[in-house]
Symmetry: C2
Subunit: 424 residues, 2 copies
């Protein structure tokens, strides 16, 4: 089964929006064990659409077409498909009724322009859209089924999951038996991870994929077929062993999500004292609903005065050791924890660059501390200085991992591949 | 001149990475007045690459090919191009020397695999890459020039700006006379902005584009040709007048960048007290190097205890009015400003959702305050409750705009289209 995707829309073609639908779709297909073999992006010109439908229908078995189903004059997918097949547009009475009901239910009169959304090519099979006014449809042309989906990401996702994947399973018997395990790593580049994992002998049906999402690389372990799926836990365990401290979460998007999951409703409370990360840790946690259950506060003490006044860092410590030092960051963590007697406090202070580095403390030097009810852990690390963003996001990740390891009762301070550490 | 783009690489096709190169390239071309007419994304299979090069060379005049120039076995662009044209790969001695010099300069021995990067199709014209080991090249096939560029975003950008655009200008005389003005807006959807601007009569050669970048919509005013460029300031002025308070910055990526630009080196200092925005404002400012020159601190006082203890908000105020109230947010701003006697302080407190709303204060209710040496401004706004992220980012944007307007000596509290406001 040869699958292709056609993305339509001037705003996608012209780069006004980045095509996240395409990446999402390819990803979901891969998790079903199906590869998208080619993706074509075209604008809103009728003749371009007709040409690309006709041309690709000679090469592919299934083509997911995304976008161009709206009510406005530049939404031309249905018209182009009808012309490509040489048949008229016909009003679909079922969908017209659905549209009218939808507007009645919302107490609004239906604009005439929406009637257009019920016009489908004569031979089209309607595909339900339970969450929007654009109905999907599919048309057979030459060797291909062209499957039309709305451009609104939420509607596309519903239709792919609810209609497109079942259609593939029924028509082509594919995609039924796939499982994926995702491991989130820090501190190693993609090629370093691949080198380490190359030695693993993977059972048939098991493959590895890598996805970079700064500051993480996500490793996906795909298993296709019953036998491979049965072996997935064992393979996952091997991968964990080979990678050691690099793996910081499983089936999570970020370390912040992992920490949020562990702290939310746990009864433990957290305070933050951020300097170089500048609110990044707080903001990443507050992004999750329910973070108020554990996050007492996050104090972005960017100036020395603020470190003294808000956190109670001693001016003498700042004078003797500087803001980026083990001594300062320990006092920051202790001070942040003490304020509301939180269970834990994390503190960061570092040189994010591009300016501000010195020979002794170059850009990428970051001091981190975790204060607990029992004491304080600290370390000073050397991060790759590729960009200010990378230094900040890696600092946040290592800090959050210190807390994660403490919550698990593991050693708080460990080595992570490419992240260096200053001896105390 | 018909321009297309071919993106290569399994990781782009399979959605493991979102193709930001494609969006960037289309955007830059549009600013040159050139449309990309089609974009094809293919994987790393040799036969797919050969087929797509041959096929598109019959339709386009210029094709930018991105990716596949690296040293590893899945980098096949040069080989595929040679096969598509029916000619051998030949070692380019100039580039081989450059590679050897590059490794010598960096004190490393050149791995043999890098030699591959000097092998170009026989008829290729080498294109310099001053920032990487992958040289670009261009080959004429059928009616098209295929122009090969590296996949590393930084290297692509250098090559497009330094080599590809000059090549287009020289060969096709295009792209020389275009100017763009970018206006950043908040508080209106794309269609509402378009409705407002539809009435404007634009002079010939001037067009409008929209780009959504939450919580902003960016309006681009393109002017093509001397006459249109001469009229650009006048058109920009008209657009500003029509949009009023919606325009919050010009030629900036975000309001944070605008505020950073105005505060950096100004001598004014800033403190932040964030609740619902949870470090977002601090983090967006700290993203810029030099923010330490004005940012005293950002206090993410997420719990009521922290508002009392760190900011000195009165427990009585919290009891009487609640955390999300004009009274509380004013005390937060005053408290944050007072701590280090900063010139300004911004405070936010709101209900980001999806939980935590009430009938009186539904999700999307946000209180904002700006404290200055002279007093305190405050307002309580109603934001669309589409998502937690949107509530947080719009809250941050309106807060930053209050400060921006104060710095300009304009009214601090104004209406923004779709953003509602509670009367005090």
């Amino acid at each position: 089964m040869k699958l292709e995707m056609i993305c339509t829309g001037e705003e996608v073609l012209s780069g006004q929006i980045v095509d996240t639908n395409a990446a999402w779709f390819a990803n979901v297909m891969m998790e079903q064990g199906i590869e998208v073999q080619r993706r074509i992006t075209v604008g809103d010109r009728l003749e371009d659409l007709i040409a690309v439908f006709q041309e690709r229908s000679l090469h592919a078995d299934v083509i997911l077409v995304n976008g161009g189903l709206g009510p406005t004059s530049d939404d031309l997918s249905a018209e182009a498909m009808a012309k490509a097949k040489g048949e008229p547009l016909v009003e679909n009475l079922v969908w017209r009724q659905r549209l009218e009901d939808w507007f009645t239910r919302n107490g609004r009169e239906m604009p005439l322009s929406n009637l257009k959304q019920a016009l489908l090519p004569e031979s089209a099979v309607m595909v339900d859209n339970p969450v929007g006014t654009a109905c999907g449809f599919r048309v057979k042309l030459n060797r291909a089924w062209l499957f039309f989906t709305p451009g609104v990401p939420f509607e596309l996702k519903e239709m792919v999951k609810g209609q497109f994947i079942p259609f593939l399973q029924q028509e082509y018997g594919v995609g039924a038996k796939v499982a994926v395990k995702k491991l989130l790593t820090i501190g190693h580049g993609e090629s370093a991870l691949a080198d380490k994992l190359e030695t693993l002998e993977l059972p048939e049906g098991v493959t590895l994929g890598y996805r970079s999402s700064m500051p993480h690389i996500e490793i996906k372990i795909f298993a296709r077929g019953d036998k491979a799926i049965g072996l997935l836990p064992r393979v996952t365990n091997h991968v964990r062993q080979v990678l050691g401290t690099a793996v910081v979460a499983e089936d999570r998007q970020s370390l912040a999500e992992e920490i949020h999951g562990r702290l939310n409703q746990s009864g433990f409370s957290l305070a933050l004292a951020e300097s170089c990360t500048g609110g990044l840790i707080a903001s990443d946690l507050v992004a999750f609903s329910g973070s108020s259950s554990y996050l007492h506060h996050g104090l972005v003490t960017y100036s020395n005065e603020s470190k003294v006044k808000v956190l109670g860092v001693s001016p003498q410590t700042l004078d003797d050791h500087g803001a980026v030092s083990i001594a300062t960051v320990e006092e920051m963590a202790l001070g942040a924890r003490r304020l509301l007697d939180s269970d834990f406090a994390l503190a960061t202070s570092g040189i994010a660059g591009p300016d501000g580095g010195s020979e002794e403390k170059p850009v990428g030097t970051v001091a981190l501390a975790l204060a607990t009810r029992g004491g304080v852990y600290s370390q000073m690390i050397k991060l790759p200085r590729r960009s200010r963003d990378l230094v900040r996001s890696l600092s946040a990740a290592v800090a959050l991992d210190m807390l994660r390891r403490e919550l698990l009762g593991e050693a708080v301070i460990v080595d992570y591949g490419s992240i260096g550490r200053y001896s105390k």
